[in-house]
Symmetry: C2
Subunit: 151 residues, 2 copies
């Protein structure tokens, strides 16, 4: 995929991340894409939804699975502005996501390239293709601004 096309796709996830800021949630956004169409959208909403599992990836994957009427998102791609945590990486494996595209690295909470590196674990059931660092500058800036304003 050309880089400009990848940034365009990630822009859809970034829009959702910006919407999270507006309601005081950590700005992370995600989309699920199948055959070029967005079939799931998620913005980070644990506080507002009273749901510890309502990370952007989980919200987007639940919506996509509901739309497809299938708990498996085979042939679907997940685009998310931040490196997924262990909960989300585990859900990505359960959902059989084909390709994972993410933006900023998360050395503290990430579980793909950091911490438990879940997809490198010998017991993982499924490993998507992984593409990191897409529009990472914008995703990082959004997070930095958000946390700076809350201090």
């Amino acid at each position: 995929m050309p880089l400009t096309k990848a940034r365009e796709m990630m822009e859809e996830a970034l829009k959702l991340a910006r919407a999270a800021v507006d309601v005081g949630e950590v700005p992370v956004g995600a989309i699920v894409v199948r055959d070029g169409a967005i079939i799931g959208r998620g913005a980070n909403r644990p506080i507002g939804n009273h749901d510890p599992t309502a990370h952007a990836e989980i919200v987007a994957m639940r919506e996509a699975a509901s739309y497809l009427g299938n708990d498996r998102l085979t042939d679907c791609d997940l685009w998310v502005t931040l490196e997924p945590c262990a909960m989300c990486a585990g859900a990505i494996a359960h959902a059989r996501i084909a390709r994972l595209y993410y933006g900023a690295d998360d050395p503290k909470g990430g579980a793909v390239a950091h911490g438990p590196r879940l997809f490198e674990q010998p017991t993982v059931h499924h490993r998507p293709e992984i593409y990191a660092g897409i529009a990472a500058d914008e995703a990082t800036e959004l997070l930095k601004t958000f946390f700076a304003q809350r201090r």
Copy 2:
């Protein structure tokens, strides 16, 4: 907690696991308990709910968080018939569950005493007290019977 009392509590989760069998789902059940009262119940339902995240623990924690109107389940205990996977262990950390009681070990999919051992990772945000092996014989028997019947 005396062992008989612990088995009584786990029996509530086992009832939910047995209900999962009846609808063709892998038999795992979970409850969230606060001050001795059950405030969340979950049976494993990914296939029926078209939701890759609908493990017993996630369903029970989402119900409890909705009931409390809070994404944090501080002072709550989670009882589950099987060792949690990475997704569920991650959610347990996000929810700030105080005590985790589980039944059977899961060497293939578990992420507490096996695989990534999530709560032993230096980057984990929260680590509950962990009590394993409660009514493990019954939980294991239920799973064995289920998988034997599907072969």
